[in-house]
Subunit: 227 residues, 2 copies
Amino acid sequence: MSKILLIFSGGMDSATLLWKLLTDGHQVDAISFDYGQRHIAELESAKQMITYTEKNKNMKIHHDVIDVKPIFIHINSSSLTNPDIEVPNCYYTEDIAKITVVPNRNQILLSIAVGIAAARKIEKVAYAAHAGDWSIYPDCRTEFMESLKETTRLSTLWHPVEITAPFIHMTKADIVKQGLELGVPYILTRSCYNAGNLSCGTCPTCVERIEAFKLNDTTDPLNYKIH
Amino acid sequence: MSKILLIFSGGMDSATLLWKLLTDGHQVDAISFDYGQRHIAELESAKQMITYTEKNKNMKIHHDVIDVKPIFIHINSSSLTNPDIEVPNCYYTEDIAKITVVPNRNQILLSIAVGIAAARKIEKVAYAAHAGDWSIYPDCRTEFMESLKETTRLSTLWHPVEITAPFIHMTKADIVKQGLELGVPYILTRSCYNAGNLSCGTCPTCVERIEAFKLNDTTDPLNYKIH
């Protein structure tokens, strides 16, 4: 089984991918990014999930939180990073996604992950983009991912790194289904776009998450402010 | 004439591109990156060149230096960023380039520039990669640049940004020729890979630069330690 560098946000998708990769026998290094996101609590969740997983699986997981705020302070046109722009309260639509998009965020974060993987001689970067994402954000769509894979292949000829996005054709409900089978402790994950100790229950990502559990005939174990 | 975001290292290629774009009537924002490069003096050169150019052309140029050290501290397998690995003293060969390559550096820096351009509604990112570069480093080659352009087009559908590399088919000597015609003050530029106030005159980029002036039947105005 190979070593994989996982982009790990602390949300339920990347937590499920972490557990899937470990269950499949891979060795995993995790990286999280502090990009000044309003939902900075997700980084705390990320750390807690790593600690829990290390204990549960009796292994060490190398986890770095990388400060990319000096970059994203210049890319503050999104409600995720600019406190002056409100996070919308409703289900995802293209118009809503346009308010929350951080331009080119995924290409930036994936490029960084690829550079780190190449320096560590790790041959794969895993990323938990899923079908719900790619139908909305341009930089989560399959065309983008395929193109980025090719760009990355050309860029890393001397230290080949492949990008893999195993959930790209799965819905959020499919991910929850897989995670429940794997025993992922979803109570430790955090998806909400808003600040605050409790997830809001009303922003697009909370709404999508709650629904994903309902579609699996169960309830999200998180406590929400409004539910 | 359109607005362009220029990746500006303080070296002679990007200085020439700055003067070319301004002479062609474009409005230019410049960004430089502090990635912990051993040749940090290039950032001082970058600032001096901007100040000189503003005075000479009687205009303001928005210039940001972006701290990306928290990223590149994790990508320290190169002699450009790791003080424990010596910079070679000779002409470029593939083996030499493999020691100085910072894995995926250009994709990372270009992705960041694209994100900033999108947030500022600037439609072009300019980058001074040239024929000398692309024959050696994978992430300077035309195949890589073409693929990155397409990935960027797909990523920025909502805020289209195009990457342009107008020197990609020019040699260093061609760039010097153009810069001399434009009146670029090359004495303010810095190319050396080593630390220190004076450029060394012996590292691959010093050797390449000195030769480019010779090929134009003139001498590099810089003072070198050894020449």
